[in-house]
């Protein structure tokens, strides 16, 4: 596949790097998770979507 075609793909080609596995279980952005959980708790999910 040529570079231009690669750039137009929506799903990227991802190289698996096993050394990143150890990071996957760590929370790297704890403040963001806290905010997301807070929004989940107070706002929840979009109502019209859940109703479908």
């Amino acid at each position: 596949m040529k570079i231009r075609a690669l750039n137009k793909r929506k799903t990227p080609i991802v190289v698996i790097n096993k050394s990143l596995d150890k990071m996957a279980d760590k929370i790297l952005f704890p403040d963001k998770i806290k905010k997301a959980n807070q929004v989940l708790k107070t706002v929840g999910l979009p109502k019209e979507k859940l109703a479908k």
């Binding site: 990143l20 989940l40 706002v43 109502k47 979507k49």
Partner: protein, 147 residues
């Protein structure tokens, strides 16, 4: 999102993505992390710079590497890779600052047609999820891949 993108590396679960921004300030490692929250299949998208020497992650730094379009396009492409593997996932996106959240909104706005083909997209406004509309400020964004 037909912009140029950086080559991505990821862990085997496709929860961590890493790429290197190359620009006027040199090479800067970037990390994208999808972390599950208290609700199953509801993930937070975290994005920041990784200091290769200390391993520390900073999501507040402004890199100014002159490649913000390419960086945003690369982060957006991780959403496709992630939702290919986790098609039911909800992804919560909020910048570390208001300015960064606005930058994400600009990125969404510039690619809205394309995004709407593939995702349901919501904005958080006055503590309610509403359908994303142009020229509106939001506190955060929520997306889910269309079936």
């Amino acid at each position: 999102m037909n912009h140029d993108k950086y080559q991505l590396e990821a862990d085997r679960k496709l929860l961590i993505f890493e790429f290197t921004s190359i620009g006027s300030k040199g090479r800067v490692k970037k990390i994208v992390q999808y972390s599950e929250t208290n609700l199953k299949e509801f993930f937070n998208l975290g994005f920041g710079d990784k200091d290769d020497k200390t391993g520390e992650i900073n999501d507040a730094v402004i890199t100014n590497n002159g490649d913000s379009q390419k960086v945003l396009a690369t982060v957006a492409s991780t959403v496709y890779a992630f939702t290919d593997k986790y098609p039911n996932a909800w992804i919560y996106i909020q910048g570390s600052t208001k300015v960064r959240t606005r930058l994400y909104r600009m990125g969404i706005t510039n690619n809205l047609q394309e995004i709407r083909k593939d995702f349901n997209l919501y904005g958080l406004k006055e503590d309610k999820w509403v359908e994303f509309r142009l020229n509106t400020e939001y506190q955060a964004f929520l997306i889910q891949r269309k079936k």
